[in-house]
Subunit: 192 residues, 2 copies
């Protein structure tokens, strides 16, 4: 994995991909699937996510206050669904699904080698955890797979890995056509 | 517009579409473009969104505590970008962009006829508005365009309107292929 600029993290999450969340607690790593997340701030990158108390990952995230958000390519879809349909309380999901762990730089939770981007996060605010299971995370280090050099490019016609968008019911929309409307972004030239 | 079940609202927003947000304040309607939102709860449907204080819509949303989230089809992309690149402080965007208003049932903000789904929302929690401009919204009434009957269907092969996913830089990924992995959703049969 290669370093990805923190100032561009929002470009990875703003499109709404289904992601994986890894945690490590008591020397044991776990991973869950997540679609309820959003960007909150550009720099330092903040995001919000909802992790249900029903998820085994909840306790690890709440106690260690660390996680990694890994973005899988669309080709990983069957595994992404299966990860979300079993529990770390009973299964070592890394072993069960052949997920290759890579060490993170700033958190104990592992990166996932099969994912094209990995975001090391710390819990920045837990004010709404009790009420809604809503965590505010700060991305402290970001990585991308150099097999996808165009992720770090600003070329508007760049070839990005196709991601998954979960319709919430076991069906997904995959990324299709790319549309370039940069010329119309007159108010935010710093983004284009 | 036809009534859309509140229990299925999460299926509209979970994939992460770029949306429009309408407000009405002092008898004047306004609209902005938004990509920073996520689902928080199934029923009643709660969502979170970030509306910057720099947006003219912020004051209207904060004071009236109401808005409509309208989901545009991908074909509306140029207008979606243009709406986000001018301010309601200077422009009547409904007039400027030929947006057709429809009356909402429970809020003063208008629905947008060109959008295939419209969600009437009230501010349910403003605890994180001051710190992050993060609003917790409750969807109190939902509508869909009957030209898209499959939106309300549970057919896994259903034909859904293509939506926009903003890469944050003026480029968008459009919905492409639909992937049906319902059979693997063993833990959440109620969703499939």
């Amino acid at each position: 994995m290669q370093e990805y600029p923190l100032s561009k993290v929002f470009q990875l999450l703003e499109p709404g991909p289904t992601v994986l969340v890894t945690t490590a607690s008591g020397g044991r790593a776990n991973v869950m699937t997540m679609s309820w997340h959003m960007m909150m701030e550009f720099t330092p990158p903040l995001l919000a996510c909802v992790v249900s108390e029903a998820n085994h990952s909840f306790a690890a995230l709440a106690s260690t206050r660390q996680c990694v958000i890994a973005i899988p390519p669309a080709s990983f879809a069957p595994t992404v669904v299966d990860i979300g349909n079993c529990t770390g309380a009973k299964v070592d999901k890394f072993q069960a699904f052949g997920l290759a762990k890579l060490p993170a730089a700033q958190v104990a939770a592992p990166l996932i080698a099969q994912c094209f981007a990995n975001l090391e996060c710390i819990v920045a605010d837990d004010a709404l955890v009790e009420r809604y299971n809503l965590f505010v995370l700060q991305v402290v280090q970001a990585w991308f797979d150099p097999a996808w050099p165009e992720l770090a490019s600003t070329d508007p016609g760049r070839n990005l890995p196709k991601t998954l968008h979960h319709n919430g019911d076991g069906t997904f929309r995959l990324d299709g056509e790319m549309l370039n409307l940069k010329k119309r972004m007159v108010k935010f030239p710093e983004c284009t």
